[in-house]
Symmetry: C2
Subunit: 151 residues, 2 copies
């Protein structure tokens, strides 16, 4: 058996962007309140930000409003993208910038404007992104630091 070759940073970045930009992409969204919360949510990748849409009264939205941070996972458990993010904007769905709402509806498989009442768009800025498959790729897994891609 040949040992698998770890991907270089440029390849990991390309694979990560493909996951972020995929039609109907979902992420596992972890937030901290008194306990950890974790739910799957549809995402859109808009101008270097991850956009999610959810009920303002949901645990995830309340945790994000209070703490300002979330950790997101995309991909499978053996083809991982993890993003530590900061909440940079909140828009009620009915008053969101049209470009943002259009971009979300175009990538996602639903348009929150159809549900409207009580939903918000949360705009998350990735600060650190890690990408790895299995143990042989743990080294070199950090491909964004302090909001800047390393390649």
């Amino acid at each position: 058996m040949t040992a698998p070759q770890p991907r270089r940073a440029a390849e990991r970045k390309a694979d990560t962007l493909a996951k972020l930009m995929a039609p109907a992409a979902d992420a596992w969204v972890a937030t901290a309140g008194e306990r950890a919360h974790l739910v799957p949510l549809s995402i859109a990748w808009v101008d270097g930000r991850i956009v999610i849409a959810l009920e303002a009264r949901s645990v995830t939205a309340r945790n994000l409003s209070a703490s300002g941070t979330a950790r997101l996972a995309l991909g499978g458990t053996r083809d991982v993208v993890l993003a530590d993010t900061t909440l940079v904007a909140t828009h009620e769905v009915t008053h969101a910038p049209p470009d943002l709402a259009d971009a979300y509806a175009a990538q996602s498989d639903w348009d929150p404007r159809a549900d409207a009442a009580g939903y918000v768009f949360l705009v998350l800025r990735p600060d650190r992104v890690q990408a790895w498959t299995e143990v042989h790729e743990l080294a070199g897994r950090t491909i964004m630091r302090s909001g800047e891609w390393v390649v």
Copy 2:
């Protein structure tokens, strides 16, 4: 188009147990510290408990020691199992009950006893379990409450 039929509770329970007992099963493990943490870890299902093995100094182990709780996701984002769990036992890998360590090694694709130093088994008791695929299965998604299966 026919509307998809939601699974009954018994079927959701069976599907959930299949995920928990699958060879080389992984879970996304969310824990709360100052921020939310989230990592993929191999699990074993042993006597109604979820067992994970990890470095005692890892963020996840430290968060679990401090808070006593974790929220785990198994399956895909559109075939979800979510388990709210409580830490009920911690064993250094080298001093773990042999039955527990053997069961973990048998289901997982690695034996933490080979790495040994610094690793612990954490035994998590599920308190609440939810299982759903997509929107049509949100109703009826809670299949365990207060540690008891609803069916």
